[in-house]
């Protein structure tokens, strides 16, 4: 097979991989502050996409719909934190795993009842016509995914480094107890991280929906990939998820081309097993000592 096809498959796979990376980044945000992640993150992606679709159908222009969707995502993230995670964390239990799954199921049922079970198109002003770059066809929609992913990750990283609130965030991530002693409310910081994580999920939904359509089950495949990416990259490397996400996406699409579409997921899963066996903290993760 010629280089052009390999290039095409790798590029479109890598661009989809950025969506996995973005969702994985959402896991990292909450893991950093609270050592917990939202197992219902996929449902946050889906329900925020549905909400944004409703905004669009109500006549909101794209530029107003995006912040609306992000705000909704943040709110939903806070709901997860308040209703599930905080209770478990206060009791130092691992109950957040089950609670966040349950809240996700609740979102899923709610979406089925409010919006129905059908897959629907997500209108966008961004054209889906291909542009030809170096022998590879890329659509503006796919490029918009890349722009969106890098923009929000860049903004959040800047926020963490440059603002007072962001520094509090980093402080809680580094050492929760010490931060508490310095007068930083860790509860608030965890709330902030869940809100940000919700917004990130919402953006992933808004970016991916025009390509994949919106439906209650839209995120079930995405979320598994995002987990793989988060685990392979490690739960504390923002830069790592981007690289691993793009790599996994490209690997998947090359596998479906050369091995047949039924084998699409196989290399990713092998990668996951290898990573767990060789680098349990992630390829880009720091080894940590867990005090029991």
């Amino acid at each position: 097979m010629n280089a052009q096809i390999i290039g095409q498959m790798a590029v479109s796979g890598a661009l989809m991989g950025l969506v996995y990376a973005l969702i994985a980044y959402g896991f990292q945000l909450t893991f950093a502050t609270s050592k917990s992640i939202n197992f219902g993150q996929g449902e946050l992606v889906m329900i925020s996409a549905f909400f944004s679709l409703t905004l669009t159908n109500l006549g909101f222009p794209y530029w107003a719909m995006v912040p609306g969707g992000l705000l909704f995502g943040a709110l939903m993230g806070l709901v997860v934190e308040r209703a599930g995670v905080r209770l478990a964390l206060e009791q130092k239990s691992e109950g957040w795993i089950l609670l966040s799954i349950i809240i996700g199921l609740f979102f899923f049922s709610a979406a089925e009842n409010i919006w129905g079970r059908d897959d629907r198109p997500f209108p966008t002003p961004i054209s889906a016509d291909p542009i030809h770059i170096l022998g590879v066809d890329v659509t503006r929609l796919e490029l918009s995914v890349a722009v969106g992913v890098f923009a929000i990750m860049g903004l959040i990283e800047l926020f963490k480094r440059r603002t007072l609130l962001g520094k509090a965030f980093e402080a809680v991530s580094a050492d929760r107890d010490a931060a508490e002693l310095m007068g930083i409310s860790s509860t608030r910081t965890v709330m902030l991280s869940y809100g940000l994580s919700g917004s990130v999920a919402a953006l992933a939904g808004i970016l991916v929906s025009p390509i994949t359509t919106v439906g209650p089950t839209m995120a079930s495949a995405l979320i598994l990939k995002a987990f793989s990416v988060a685990v392979v990259a490690g739960l504390d490397s923002g830069f790592g998820v981007v690289l691993v996400g793009m790599f996994l996406g490209a690997l998947e699409s090359l596998a479906s081309f050369y091995l047949g579409s039924g084998w699409r997921e196989a290399p990713g899963l092998i990668l996951l097993i290898l990573a767990l066996a060789l680098r349990p903290n992630g390829v880009f993760g720091k080894a940590t000592i867990r005090k029991v």
């Binding site: 095409q8 498959m9 059908d118 198109p121 089950t217 495949a221 579409s261 699409r264």
Partner: protein, 418 residues
């Protein structure tokens, strides 16, 4: 689902007093999920016919006029739900008939319960071959299951014919991994052979339900030089194929099963769907007065400006009229007598697709077409154009106008294939 059951119960309760004076007909199908455009359209088409019949006082059964009472069940395109519903219906002692089912798997799971009790069912609009051939394979002597759909055999023949007529020589065969997709592929490959191997199959590509990214399959088809894609799958994934083509700058048109006319294909593919071809039994175009009144009636009753699946709606409408004609001829609400009347309908039934003259004959396990109403001549090629399905070939339009106004010749079942 809950609400529907509740409504059903209320209906039954409310009409309990005059239960003996109604003809009970069950409408089933997927009213939610990926096949919902077909299920709801077929149901709503049937209900439109029921409203017309009831408004005129009902069906003349023997000496009195009886109104039709509807029992609705959503099988959600799930086989296990279909089986449950069929069991429930089979347990009803006063049911006159069943119309419905979109998914072949649901037919396979449920229809045996109806057949056992001898309950008359018109399958509409499921098209998978297996839903009828299961009875010929089992060699049943007396079959109460009829079908009212352009079955896959006809469709596959037309798809291949269309590709040849459009002077394509290299095609890719693309299908989903369900029963429906795989049997569609087999039908198409068989037809290519049958029609003289004028098409070279340069690629065979498969995908799963729920797949959104078809780049790999399409790139393989493209690099093999496919000029057209012969495809067998269901709505949302079909749209992913069209959108994938646009992305990699591929221009090969899709030609495939009638599912390409479902609104969830047309809407999700948008302008990338233009030029897609599929066999249709009905095109939403007011070519005859009857078609016009049906289309207007549907739009008005359900407040839409496009029928989600025009084919399913028209078939639901005609199937109901055919069943009603059988009830009238039988002079009874007894489902077994209705079955006998269906196998020998004396009077032609004026439908929106055609005028149906003797659509069914006595069941012969060696020949499923005895219980198939559709013939090649009632099916045309439709084409997607700007979000609607129009006639693919103008000659078909003229032919359909003719067939709707003249009586279709009584069929001679022995000469048909299978």
């Amino acid at each position: 689902m809950f609400r529907q059951t509740l409504c059903g119960l209320l209906l039954v309760a409310a009409s309990g007093a005059q239960a003996a004076d109604t003809v009970k007909i069950a409408l089933t199908g997927p009213f939610s999920g990926g096949s919902a455009p077909m299920g709801t359209s077929a149901r709503d088409g049937s209900k439109l016919a029921i409203a017309e019949i009831n408004a005129a006082g009902g069906i003349q059964v023997g000496s009195k006029k009886m109104k039709i009472e509807v029992i609705e069940r959503d099988d959600e395109a799930k086989n296990e739900r279909g089986a449950l519903i069929a069991q429930e219906l089979a347990a009803m002692s006063d049911l006159s008939g069943v119309i419905g089912t979109v998914n072949t798997g649901v037919c396979l799971a449920g229809d045996k319960h109806l057949q056992e009790k001898g309950i008359t069912k018109i399958i509409c609009p499921a098209a998978g071959s297996a839903s009828m051939t299961q009875w010929s394979k089992a060699g049943v002597k007396d079959n109460s299951i009829f079908r009212f759909a352009a079955y896959d055999g006809i469709q596959a023949a037309m798809v291949v014919e269309e590709a040849i007529n459009r002077k394509f020589t290299k095609v890719a065969v693309v299908f989903d991994s369900t029963n429906y997709g795989v049997s569609g592929r087999d039908d198409m490959l068989e037809q290519i052979k049958k029609q003289g191997n004028k098409l070279e199959v340069v690629a065979q590509e498969k995908f799963n339900i729920g797949d959104k990214d078809m780049t790999a399959q399409l790139l393989r088809a493209k690099s093999a030089g496919a000029q057209a894609i012969l495809i067998w799958a269901i709505g949302p994934e079909l749209a992913a194929v069209s959108n994938g083509e646009a992305k990699i700058g591929m221009k090969a048109p899709l030609i495939g099963g009638w599912t390409l006319s479902m609104s969830n294909y047309i809407d999700n593919a948008g302008k990338n769907g233009n030029g897609t071809l599929m066999p249709q039994t009905f095109i939403e175009e007011a070519i005859t007065p009857k078609a016009k009144s049906f289309i207007d009636g549907y739009h008005k009753a359900y407040k839409v400006d496009r029928i989600p699946s025009a084919v399913a709606a028209a078939q639901g409408y005609d199937a109901l009229y055919i069943l009603a004609a059988a009830v009238k001829q039988a002079g009874s609400t007894d489902t077994k007598k209705i079955k006998e009347a269906l196998e020998d309908l004396k009077e032609p039934v004026k439908g929106v697709i055609a005028t149906w003259s003797h659509p069914y004959t006595k069941w012969d396990p060696a020949d499923v077409t005895t219980h198939e109403a559709f013939r090649r001549e009632q099916v045309v090629m439709g084409m997607v154009k700007d979000g609607r399905v129009v006639f693919g070939n103008d000659a078909d339009r003229a032919r359909l106008i003719k067939s709707a106004t003249t009586v279709t010749p009584a069929k001679t079942s022995k000469t048909k294939k299978k």
